[in-house]
């Protein structure tokens, strides 16, 4: 019998400096032959590679964890699904089934939610650019609108006149919560007095009813205290405008931004250590609320958490197409998924798992995507044993922002499947082909090619 084969490798030994990426590495040699009990091999046989795979069980579980963390600590909570984080119908439908309303930031997202069957009054409409027509629709259908700037106040007053209605609106605030960067480009600044000016302006117009405050302090926030600050400042402001202008604030929408168990580039601690639990965030937010609200006053707390709910429910299966040795000795692989479909590769070092046991020592490797573009680097530092061609890598978490920010660039976008709670595997977005891309193109007749095959 022949001996089992392992690819040949040689490493230089450095005295007093045991390879700092060696042993104990977070990503060292992890094997995952299945996702939710369905073999990776079968998934690829049926749906091809690369392939996005979502777990319904994990999605519902993550949502319920977050929901329980807040509803156990505060009596009036609403979760509103951030469409931009993942607006695949099937994903939204699951979260709406769990009770989430829809948080949208464009007329496209608004229309997508409506088409899915979400009533207007279960939509929160945010964002810096809300075309007038979309405001008309949103007001008519009773959506909650959070105003971003003074022009939008004027636009809404125009809509109010046209419809003979008094829209109930919120305003978006931005503020110092002790973290950087401060997302000060959205909404009205609190500390500068701009926010109170906006309230004055709304009161002076007399055509709008201010009933809500909104804020979103950023994304992948690792600091629960930032939310405590946010909440305290919002409550204080709510009471101030109630006293000075008589507007009763019915909801405090604190946005999203909770992190997922992903590893940001530049952070070397594994996510289990670096990322606070949802309970820590909930504890901070709810304590801050209860300690600053008047007794018996429970305005609705709205959360627009995206990433923390869906990121860990998504996996990407990708296949090793070729191996390379860089001039500096670094090992590299070309895989069939690149930054065209994996936008979050710019921020994260994913968890990389192999579909099979591969023998041989791990070494630091680069994962290149399939694009003929220098930017196409899925990971610049991942510990991998010598991988045979055809090895499948399972990257996670990839459920947030990829299937929305992906682009049709150089390659077609691949299939997306959902594994249901009973193990059913369903296609929820079909891979593209040429017809999807050329459908919108128009070739002027005079430019048609006359070449003969």
């Amino acid at each position: 019998m022949k001996k089992p084969y392992e690819k040949p490798v040689i490493f230089k030994l450095k005295t007093g400096f045991m390879n700092k990426f060696g042993g104990g590495s977070y990503f060292l040699k992890k094997v995952r032959s299945e996702i939710e009990g369905i073999s990776v091999d079968e998934l690829v046989k049926e749906f091809g590679s690369p392939l996005f795979v979502f777990s319904e069980r994990k999605l519902r579980q993550k949502f319920r964890e977050l929901k329980n963390a807040f509803t156990l600590r505060y009596p009036n909570v609403e979760f509103s699904w951030s469409y931009k984080t993942n607006y695949l119908d099937a994903i939204c439908a699951i979260l709406h089934d769990e009770g989430e309303t829809a948080e949208v930031v464009s007329e496209f997202e608004y229309e997508k939610a409506r088409r899915l069957g979400v009533p207007g009054n279960k939509i929160i409409y945010n964002g810096p650019y809300k075309p007038l027509d979309s405001l008309r629709v949103a007001v008519r259908e009773g959506a909650r609108i959070n105003v971003d700037h003074f022009e939008e106040i004027a636009d809404l007053e125009q809509v109010a006149d046209e419809l003979g209605a008094k829209p109930r609106i919120g305003i978006r605030l931005n503020m110092d919560t002790g973290i950087q960067p401060q997302w000060s480009r959205f909404g009205f600044n609190l500390e500068s007095g701009q926010a109170i000016d906006a309230v004055k302006r709304i009161a002076a117009g007399g055509k709008l009813e201010l009933v809500g405050l909104h804020c979103h302090i950023g994304t992948f926030i690792l600091e629960p205290r930032a939310y405590e600050q946010e909440v305290k400042k919002m409550v204080e402001f709510a009471y101030r405008i109630e006293e000075e202008f008589g507007f009763k604030i019915e909801y405090l929408d604190i946005g999203g931004g909770f992190p997922s168990k992903n590893r940001l580039r530049g952070i070397y601690l594994p996510p289990d250590v670096a990322v606070p639990s949802v309970d820590e965030f909930a504890e901070g937010v709810c304590n801050a609320l209860l300690s600053s609200l008047r007794p018996g006053d429970y305005p609705k707390l709205i959360l627009e958490s995206g990433r923390a709910i869906v990121d860990e429910a998504g996996y990407l299966i990708t296949t090793v197409h070729a191996a390379k040795r860089m001039p500096n000795g670094r090992k590299a692989y070309v895989v069939d998924a690149g930054v065209n479909i994996l936008f979050t590769a710019f921020w994260y070092h994913f968890n990389v798992e192999l579909d099979r046991e591969v023998n041989g020592p791990a070494e630091p490797c680069i994962l290149y995507g399939p694009l003929c573009m220098n930017i196409d680097v899925v990971d610049d530092m991942v510990q991998l044993p010598p991988l045979p061609r055809g090895t499948r890598l399972i990257l996670s978490p990839v459920g947030a922002y990829n299937v929305t920010q992906w682009m049709q660039f150089i390659r077609y976008r691949p299939n997306v499947v959902l594994i249901g709670e009973n193990g059913e595997v369903e296609l929820i977005r079909e891979a593209e082909d040429l017809s999807d891309i050329v459908r919108r193109e128009r070739l002027p007749e005079r430019l048609e090619l006359k070449w003969k095959d």
């Binding site: 022949k2 001996k3 089992p4 084969y5 392992e6 690819k7 040949p8 490798v9 040689i10 490493f11 230089k12 030994l13 191996a323 040795r325 500096n328 000795g329 041989g360 020592p361 010598p386 045979p388």
Partner: protein, 84 residues
């Protein structure tokens, strides 16, 4: 005498380069190849030997040998002029 002939090798895969004082570690496949190269075997012969000794296709062995030679070169264990 080629550079490879001067290397000290243990059966555990410890390699010492007396010229530079550097030490290396290789896995079993790497050691197997190094020994053959030291004996002056050609690339074809090494590939042949690999397929006889291990459960590996000729294609994969040939591909991996190229990569291994590159690793040796990068570690200064093959002289540039001596292309094996």
């Amino acid at each position: 005498m080629g550079k490879l002939q001067k290397l000290a090798m243990s059966d555990e895969g410890f390699i010492f380069d007396p010229e530079t004082g550097s030490s290396f570690t290789v896995n079993q496949t790497g050691l197997f190849i190094l020994k053959l190269l030291k004996e002056g075997k050609s690339q074809e012969e090494v590939v042949e030997a690999l397929t006889e000794e291990f459960d590996v296709s000729r294609e994969e062995a040939a591909r991996d040998l190229i990569d291994f030679l590159e690793q040796l070169r990068l570690n200064g264990l093959l002289r540039e002029e001596k292309s094996v």
